[in-house]
Symmetry: C2
Subunit: 204 residues, 2 copies
Amino acid sequence: MSAPVRLLLADDEHLIRGALAALLSLEDDLLVVAEAASGPEALAMARAHAPDVAVLDLQMPGADGVKVATSLRTELPGCRVLIVTGHGRPGHLKRALAAGVRGFVPKTVSAQRLAEIIRTVHAGNRYVDPELAADAISAGDSPLTAREAEVLELAADGAPVAEIAERAALSPGTVRNYLSSAVTKLGAENRHAAVRLARERGWV
Amino acid sequence: MSAPVRLLLADDEHLIRGALAALLSLEDDLLVVAEAASGPEALAMARAHAPDVAVLDLQMPGADGVKVATSLRTELPGCRVLIVTGHGRPGHLKRALAAGVRGFVPKTVSAQRLAEIIRTVHAGNRYVDPELAADAISAGDSPLTAREAEVLELAADGAPVAEIAERAALSPGTVRNYLSSAVTKLGAENRHAAVRLARERGWV
DNA sequence: CCCCGCGCATGACAAATGTCAGCACCGGGC
DNA sequence: GCCCGGTGCTGACATTTGTCATGCGCGGGG
């Protein structure tokens, strides 16, 4: 019998985090050593406790799960990262894998499954939810170039072109060109519908 | 010693629902008699099991917590409804209370608190998270008229004026007038920023 | 080496949008 | 009875946005 798997749990919803901690603690090969309610807190906890596996919510205040994973990758290479998410957007999965995340599961799985997946990840294997993986594959790669995506993101809150141009340090005309090409590529009616589509596919 | 409080749990995230069920079952005066993963399923379960308290997530597929609460109010008047939510928008709280909901709490509370609140609600009292209540009061009432809100909602997915006009059975000019007045009232830069603001305040 | 795609820009034009004024009808409150 | 606010429409105008052509420099792949 080997030592228990030491876990870090990070989720901004106390209810979920606490419940999860309680359930996972029922498994005798799992041990929750730290909890966090935000991205920065998760990083601090990870540094302090050096867990074997970090279970991170995708959406947290401060820094999202992928950002935390990126930092952990260099600071604690031995710590495997498992992302759990409510609404899995295809693009998030891709970015997460690029950040060295070892597992990616929706919150629709049961606690038993999660415990198994934690063991899988701890053993050095990867686990990606099959449905999310299928979505990601069928959604394909983002057709947007880096600048197009950047400009589209700045357009997300409904700002006028002039403001986007200023914030991106680009000419207003250039901004309109990028927006236009992004809208065309996404087959949207206008930039706002394009933002919505790109968000749905996780491309922004 | 009275009979235990019979609970219905509804949340689309299996992980949370299961964890919650396990934690609440630790309290010996609480009994989870049914679970559901969607709005319609929650209604069906409520009809079948007639719980004392229904704990509903605000955002569920099919029908949201407030819609379910509205239906339950007439079908099962004896069933108290408690809404839990991840991101509490001020307007949601108002609509929930109008639908006869007895409790409204964010998912940031601990399971112990939740158990207490369930008892409070079951006893016939109301409970609203103080922070959410403060937000709702400071956000105030929606300054939008019924039509303004309706048109703004149709504009939410970035549809052009012509499409909004058709879907609302209004003249395009009228649609633009309503949008303009909504944008002015909300102090937004354009309709899309207005949609975002109205969403944040829970006015749409 | 040459071509192509990307980044960045300008200019011009058409279309959509935002803003304003004005008019009509209805219903509720004083 | 009168006024006011909400609803609905038109027309006119300025501004913003969307689209397209065109140009230049750069870097990577064939």
